[in-house]
Amino acid sequence: MIMSDTDRRDRAEYEVPLGPLHSALLEPFRIRLFVDDERVVDTEITYDTAHRGIERIMEGMPVQKALIITERICGICSHVHLWNSTRMVENGLGIEIPQRAEYIRVIGNELERIHSHLLFLGHAFEILGHETFSMRCFMLREPVQNMLFLLSGNRVHYTISVIGGVRPRCDIDKEKKKNLFEMLNNLEEGCKNFANRATKDTLIISRIKDIGYLSKEDAVKYGALGPNLRASGVNDDVRMRVREYTDNFDFDYIVFDGGTVFDRVACRVYEVLESIKIIRQALETLPDEEPMNVNYEIGEMDFSHSYNEAARGEIYDSCALDESGRIRNYIDRTPSMTSISAMEVSCIGDHVTDASIIIASCDPCLTCTNRMTIVDEKKNKEYILSPEEVKRMTRRRKV
């Protein structure tokens, strides 16, 4: 909640609760809009309806078995979860990775970013009521899904990364490379045309320009991440600090200054083109070697952690292994976790109808986020941790 209770009561004429079941919400969460003459004066977002207890499931499991569960956190950014958790264990145990495997992991991540952004755009245009653009986004997304299928054999959960490298079925041979190049060229042409149309359509712009304003200061203060942060003028991308990217690829970080829905949409549109650039470089310079290092041993590991840039922003994985290589205290933090306050604050001052697109423009993935409900058996009471409390729990530990 952003306003004080007194201010709210003075200004809010009525409250409009939405969800957790609502046709505009792809995932179950509750939004309460406090409204004065169809202007939102305050918002409250609650996400506690899809708890799956993934971290608890992983506790005590052998690491080779457990990591694949992280991929099931999300159906959209599944690869980056598995990659980051694998990377965290590899860092902790000091396992060397072939460069070819790093390239293939990057290709998987960028393809995933493209399809996630296109899914976001399709959904955003659907909320705006522009069915034609929405359909066009899904048509553009289909070849990306096909590319992921070609790369990994799956369209959703690709299971590319494994400790030591990538699975042999995800290796890229000559025929695969040729097909991927061909598909990438078509995709680039389609995306450029779409970017040109979507960012210049006057009616679309009139709907998304000047709404959902999130200032640079608020974006930092409320913990916005990924494209939401960059659309508010903060040039921060975890890829700047991930060795696999910094050592091998040359690309631009897309930053917009406006902080409105338009900027968040445009930021993602242009990030798609940058991702295509990265994939092209990776395919052109793919090292010729085995994609897997099998010479490693799993043993005791102190707390290790890894950060990576998913389509929605920074993800964080951390855990320790006991002497038999079993998971201890696994923590996984998804980007939507810290973006929720930013979503709340960016709705304020806009029309009720715009609230859905403003929240959607922050691209929440709430089912991935919902991790933990605290049950106090003595008091017979249950409560959800606030983002701040969760952030405190996931603070970096000394290794």
Binding site: E13, A24, R30, V35, E44, L203, S206, Y383
Partner: protein
């Protein structure tokens, strides 16, 4: 007055309007689908078969303070539309002096008001009534009232009545200014239409107003008003799925939803039929004139489908200036017509 003709027209004109209107949503959906590079549904599916399907669904009582009135509103809407199309029929020109643009404007206003009544009578489970522990999890009452989606739609419907439908009424009255009469048949007669001895060849002897400068301006303005009255994109904020889902019609299910579909498609056809009568000078007479009338009445739905495929839902931030712009254009049309 020829009573036989009058009775036949009173029975068959609404039947024809009803039959033709079942095709309108299908045609619109097909065009939108083609623009979006999809096949789209069979033409009769959205307007006829889905209506028929809803008639055979299990009846669900709406959550409403006055469920019978809520259920009967679509029926009232359908009969209003039938009454409007009858007023544009040549046989009805002398009935109580009602066949004028003032009567049509009044009845359209009633049709618009129905959405306000609908919204006030609907109380769906999707917002305030959804069982969710907002109020027991330690939170305080943060606003004076908790309001559901449909009540927001009511506010929007009211705003549309006051602002959004200006272009429609200006579009209605531009032909009156050109013809110098508010009588429907006088406007048709001004364009050369006479029901006695009308054949298909007579179409070429007409002088439609749409081919004049004030006529084309009026037609453009009327089209904007048409989009507003049928709640089609981009003017569908009352029904937008982004927040109010279906708005005032959210609680309609089974037979009631079938009734609402029929009301909507009848409105689409009848408002287009008025356009043909006023701007092409061909009223829905029970004669050969009915054929060109029905064909020309598809112009507005087709154009509406094309426009809606390329536009998002506009909020009042865009609707106010657009309405102002089209109203100004309508005023220009009226001035040009007077000159």
């Amino acid at each position: 007055m020829n009573w036989t003709q009058f009775i036949l027209a009173t029975i068959f004109v609404p039947i024809i309007a009803f039959a033709v209107s079942t095709w309108v949503p299908g045609i619109m959906r097909k065009i939108q689908a083609r623009i979006q590079m999809r096949i789209g549904p069979p033409v009769l599916l959205p307007g006829f078969w889905s209506v028929l399907k809803f008639f055979f669904k299990k009846r669900i009582d709406p959550v409403s303070p006055l469920p019978r009135l809520y259920h009967s509103i679509p029926v009232i809407g359908i009969f209003l539309m039938f009454f409007i199309i009858l007023l544009t029929n040549p046989e009805w020109r002398d009935v109580l002096g009602l066949a004028t643009l003032v009567a049509i404007a009044g009845l359209v206003k009633v049709e618009e008001t129905l959405y306000i009544v609908m919204g006030n009578l609907s109380d769906s489970v999707l917002s305030v009534r959804m069982p969710y522990p907002d109020m027991v999890s330690g939170s305080t009452m943060k606003a004076k009232v908790r309001r559901n989606f449909e009540k927001i739609s009511v506010t929007r419907a009211f705003k549309f009545i006051t602002v959004g439908s200006f272009p429609l009424y200006l579009g209605l009255f531009v032909p009156a200014m050109i013809a110098g009469s508010i009588g429907i048949m006088s406007i048709a007669n001004y364009q050369g239409f006479y029901s006695d001895g009308f054949t298909l060849k007579s179409i070429f002897d007409l002088n439609p107003l749409i081919f004049s400068v004030p006529g084309i301006i009026g037609a453009i303005v009327y089209f904007a008003g048409y989009l507003v009255i049928i709640n089609e994109y981009p003017f569908s904020i009352m029904h937008t799925k982004a927040d109010v889902i279906e708005g005032p019609t959210l609680e309609y299910a089974a037979t009631a939803r079938a009734g609402y579909y029929l009301m909507r498609e009848t409105t689409m056809f009848v408002m287009s039929s008025i356009f043909v009568t006023l701007y092409f000078g061909i009223p829905p007479a029970l004669s050969w004139a009915m054929i060109p009338h029905v064909i020309l009445a598809m112009i507005l739905p087709v154009l509406a489908a094309i426009v809606s495929a390329f536009t998002p839902v506009l909020t009042f931030r865009q609707v106010y200036p657009m309405s102002l712009g089209f109203s100004a254009l309508g005023v220009i049309g009226v001035i040009v017509a007077v000159l």
